[in-house]
Amino acid sequence: MLSVIIFLPLLASLLILAVPANKAPVYKAIAIAVTVVQIALCGYIYFTGNFSSYQEVYNQQSYQFVEKADWINLQLGQLGTLDIDYFVALDGLSAPLLLLSAVVMLIALVASAEIKQNHKGFYSLLLLANMAIMGTFCALDFFLFYLFYELMLLPLYFLIGMWGGERREYAAIKFFLYTLFGSVFMLLVMVGLYFSVTDPVTGAHTFNLLHMMNPANYQQGALFTAEAGSLLFGYPTRLIAFIIVFIAFAIKIPMVPLHTWLPDAHVEAPTPVSIVLAALVLKIGAYGILRICFGIFPDGAIAFSFWIGLLGVISIIYGALNALASTDLKRMVAFSSISHMGFVLLGFSSLTPEGVNGAVMQLVSHGFLSATLFFLVGVVYSRVQNRTIAHFSGLATIMPKYTAFVLITFFASLGLPVFSAFIAELFVLIGAFTSESVNGMIPRWMAVIGSVGILLGAAYFLWTLQRMFFGKLHLHGGDEWRVKLKDVSRQEYIVLLGLSLITIAIGIFPSLVFDVSNSAANALLQHVLQIGKMQLVQLFAL
């Protein structure tokens, strides 16, 4: 089942390449058909899977829809057997993100009306990115995960670079270089882990992520073994490895100060690609931190929780202040993403059930909301090719439906009750607030500053609303723009309505997400607290 979800887009992509040129509607139809099938399958998995009976994180029983096959198996001299599996499965952390991905992909396709040239390339690349993203969420073999993770970069590079705005070359290569810089070092850690971990059954070295999470599988005296482990530059190698992998994913999230690729990439990318970047690629960073950093290096998660929390808080405030200062609507939305993803880091660092569950909820919530926000920006931009905030005023009078959706989405994003972001940010803040008394991971003032971030969020969203939509109608482009700025089309209306309903549904029934994610998040938390503490004791004994 998972393989179908992952590789269906690849087939569709090849099919599109085979269809004769200049058949744009056909390409789009193929892509949409595939995505609808993906949504159906992911939805089926999401609602029928048994995600609540969770055991240890490293127990394969905890994972659903397992598909496992030998892929690369080599005898490599004294390196032993190189054992790489095709191993995909889901748990409560990845299942919501998988469903999110499928839905967002459909929205991205609907939003690609602004693509005017080389449709064939565009749709096949977008489907390729689709495959890589789905694969990343499903993979439970580090090698496979890395493959999908890296494979994602190429199509996104071309999507930004070939269909983007004026500074697209710069934005595309910056995005690529940043991410690759993080991931080549992650490759080294991955190889090191491989040498440290053995499969308990076969005794061969393995890339199996679940085996890597279990401290019992680490070889005596290996690079990343906690017990009597090794030192690098006087620090435990494990903690350095945690930092390396964390940086690789923090670039993707993105965490201040590693965020500078994001405003460029998001602003220069065409609307559908901005949607994919904000709603999915950022989530992969957060997912990687949970699955790999926290799963494999729980000791690091505890040791650096203060710093992760601090950087999360800085991201919240810095992103919000930048959003406040942005003159470009898309740039404002991009910076608001940085601010909102800061909450995810804050929630993770608290290492409390509320915080981690809230952070997972924030991932889902922000996935839908950022997709909506970029879609809304795309609506204006596709009509007048302009999105400077100061160039618009009083849009409510000519685009009432559009304004209504903007209103809903802005209020949802700034964390008003009834909407998903409220639940997510509330839980994160509760977690951050109680952390000091429960486990002493992060101090209370971080929660306080985090809530200031919500206030700032309200400020930039409401101020933008006031400047662009209310007041007297005034458009920079005059009457010409006034004609062009038609209200939302029926297609756009359906998408926006659907997205708004999803946000409200999650806001009113948070159990839609929590029921699936809760037990996996709690099990991971348990894992971090128990095994991480044990390993930290071992590391400090060095």
Partner: protein, 510 residues
Amino acid sequence: MENTLSTILQQNSDSLNYLLPEIILVITFLETIVADLFWKKKEITLFVTFFGLAIALLANVAQLGVTDKLLFNGMLQFTAVAVVYKLLSIAAALVALVVLLSEKSLLNTAKGIGEYCTLVLGLTIGCQFMCLATNLLSIYVAVEMVSLAAYLLVAYKSADKKATEGAIKYVLFGAVASAVLLYGISLVYGLTGTLLLIDSNFLANLSKAPLGLVAIALVFILGGIAFKLSVVPFHFWTPDVYQSSPISVVVLVSSVPKIAAFALLTSFLGIFSFQLSNGPLIWPHFPWQNVLAVLAILTLSIGNLSAIGQHNVKRLLAWSSIAHTGFMLLAVVAFSISGHIALLFYLLVYVVMNAGAFFAVLLLEKQYKATTIQDYSGLGAKAPLVAVMLVICLVSLIGLPVTAGFVAKFLVFSTVLDAYAINANPILLAALILGAVNTVISLFYYFKIVVFLFLKKQASTLEQVATVQLWEKGVLILLVLIIVLLGLLPSTLIAFISGIVNVKSAMILY
């Protein structure tokens, strides 16, 4: 063993059986001269060359799995690993000849193509002997044979002033390098009293010699080999020669001698290292690992950093090929069986992706007279197939999944990290970190080509002057297909290589 004349003769005639591929190549060498003299038709000469190389390739395949043997009283040593290197070098020569078929400017020179074929065969024969040589004299003769053929090949289109300049530089540097090599050999001979590397006295006597002198001698020999590999600081000739030579010559010179030089380097280093159960034991009187690691790091970094500023695509690829040599050298630095496996796999992948990239560049040059990166503006839209194939080759050269280049880089990183885990030599850690950084740097300049191909708007000045033929597209697609397939399913090939390397490496490392 009694050294009577009859036993020596007997040994020599036994040895000849092991040299079947080389004998075939020599016969082909003579045939091409005759064919060129009497028929003067380039089709016939080319056919003879192809046919001979293909037969030699098959003869090498037949030698796979044959047990090791010392030939001609220790002048040559037949090993299972050497067969792999020989196979690879002949295959690379064949690929270069296929590229030649597409390069009309070289194919139709006034000189004709007969001598060219002869030189290609001469080069290949020299490389075969480089793979087999274990006597310092036979090493020198083989290296010189390769060098002479390469000098002439580079200068083949001598009507061209730039080609002549590149060739002269190559000859001058080459002459110095071979003098240095010869001096190193004479020093080693003086210190050990034997030219035979596998002589048990060789290492024993070398261990007793003064350390400074030993270091000088070994560095000189290493320098001679490093020149063939274009390792920094013996690399100055490479960019000039690559830029000025015809592309088929570049494909040939950048792969075939490199394969042979690595064969020579590994068998030479094999004398100094032993495989124990808990890791390698390296001859302690010379810091092999550190010297090689420093060379590898320098080659890697200088190659990549210099490539950034290049505008001529061939020159850019020349610097990148230097960087790749650095990566392959890292595999050697690990001093392990898995390192040797990684090296062989990397070499094979390098041959394919290097040839693929240069072939695509040749096709673009033919079609649009595009030689600089700026000329490539908007060519992605005009020649989508060739451009996409070029991009895949470049992605593999960077080492991104799911290409063979990624697997190759992954194996190198693995072996070096494993070596580091065993002996905790900080220079290995530095090599790992710099290797990772260099991957990012290489992305930057390789993607400069991609930016111009696909992201820049079309340049109006470029007119299509020729069309790409179907077989040319087919060859390019085939090369790219190999790259992707080896990226997805490397198991069979690596298992095959490790089977051969493991058999040999029971005791001695290489």
